[in-house]
């Protein structure tokens, strides 16, 4: 039984390894970004957040800082698109732009508030590995008096520069969580995209 199991898992892991190598060589040919660059982007992002959190700023000045960080390190348009989900298709170009803009302010306010929990803490980048066409950067957050926990950043250069497009904290990913929230906002406005965007401008 055990032999059988281990043989099967050996085969599976060999297949997985081969697949990974295959993807890796393709992505290497197509993209300039490497694991080193992906981790250094995340290190810079984490340092920037850390500095901002500990700067003593609050309210709007703090949120403006976070909006700058978001615009600098994250691929805001692709995040906005994937968070809006199926409605993206029916949205006009103007609505897409308005949504992306409103979403960026919303994220800055919302996560700006939540980063308070990070005051006095630190995040250490551990490793990076390629997955399909992007990179997964693993880090550990150490907050005062708490058990360390895992934070994963997904980084892609498909926008033309290296950008974070999702953050996953102990398995909870921002993309899905926000898609749920935007979906609820749309439901509340009976699917009216403009009304949802106007709600989004004050939410967070």
């Amino acid at each position: 039984m055990c032999n059988n199991l281990s043989r099967r898992s050996f085969l599976a892991s060999t297949a997985a390894l081969a697949a990974t190598l295959g993807v890796f060589s393709i992505s290497n040919a197509a993209h300039a970004m490497n694991a080193q660059q992906a981790s250094s982007l995340v290190t810079k992002l984490v340092d920037d957040i850390q500095r901002t959190v500990n700067s003593g700023k609050t309210g709007n000045p703090l949120y403006r800082e976070f909006e700058r960080i978001f615009a600098t390190y994250a691929d805001v348009p692709i995040i906005a698109q994937s968070v809006m989900g199926v409605e993206w298709r029916s949205a006009s170009s103007a609505q897409r732009r308005a949504f992306t803009d409103a979403f960026s302010g919303y994220v800055a306010r919302k996560y700006g508030k939540q980063f308070r929990d990070f005051i006095g803490g630190r995040v250490e980048v551990n490793s990076a590995r390629p997955i399909r066409s992007f990179f997964e950067v693993r880090s550990t957050a150490y907050l005062k008096g708490q058990r360390p926990f895992e934070v994963i950043f997904l980084v892609s250069d498909r926008s033309g520069s290296d950008r974070v497009f999702n953050i996953i904290v102990e398995g909870v990913n921002m993309n899905t969580s926000e898609r749920t929230e935007i979906g609820a906002m749309l439901d509340r406005n009976r699917g009216n995209i403009d009304a949802m965007i106007s709600d989004l401008r004050t939410a967070g």
Binding site: M1, C2, L5, A16, T20, D75, V76, P77, I78, I79, Q81, S82, M84, G85, V86, W88, R89, S93, R96, R97, K110, K113, Q114, F115, R116, D117, R129, I131, R132, S133, F134, E136, L143, G145, Q146, R147, I152, L154, S156, R158, S159, G160, F165, N166, E170, G171, V172, N173, N175, T176, S177, T180, E181, G183, A184, D187, R188, D199, A203, G204
Partner: protein, 277 residues
Amino acid sequence: MKYELPRSFSRLLRSGTCAGLLLAISACATPQQPARDEINDPFESFNRSMHGFNKAIDRAFISDAARIYVTYTPEPIVLGIANFFDAAGEPLNAVNNALQGDIDGFTYSTLRFLTNATLGIVGLFDTATELGIPQDDTDFGETMFVWGIGEGPFLEVPFFGPQTTRRFVGRGVDIVIDPLGLVIGFFDGATIQATLFLLDALKLREDRRSTIDDLLYNSVDSYARARIVYLQNRRFLLGTQDGPNYFDPYVNPPAGIAPDDDFGDTYIDPYEDPYVQ
């Protein structure tokens, strides 16, 4: 390293004393793993009212109690109680790791208990972590997962919050199989364990205050968010959300859109005019 036990093991158990219990979770006896972000919530309207109840309890009591407990109790005492709670959970971790065939996990839980009970002065200090012995927290819900039992419908339970049916049933089993409970006695031990559970919950509430406040009071639909956040976190803890399954927004179009409609490739300059087609 985890060794999966044969599925017949759970069949064997079903015929034993746990027959009634396993009958209760027969609804979740589908061994395949949930797809990414899959939600199975047939009791949604019941769950939503329980969510309303839990929120009311948080607003009226838990939130303030958490702030008062953590603010006015000296930090070493808060940490000591948290460590004690963790140490007291290690024998149960050891049992579940053993039931899962997780030999490393069993060794760590046992070593952690012995170390913290002695060098850590009855569990008040986490000496084991300082010595580099990893923590492998588990529960009977995870044991059932290892045995191939599906997670079952999502539930929101008064006081305990969101969970899968498998986790909820596992909590009941954990009370019965906890070696520490057997030693200190169910009834004498119950008050102590309930108190520790409450204090640990208060610390967690305060540690993650801004995140939990945002989720509960700053969401359009806090139930839907709590549900997806819980499910993702639980599946992550059980190791069923592997990296290679990540959603790739550059390749995958938004849900419900035909696969050939790949926005990722029409993407030109995000800051000039990203959506010109």
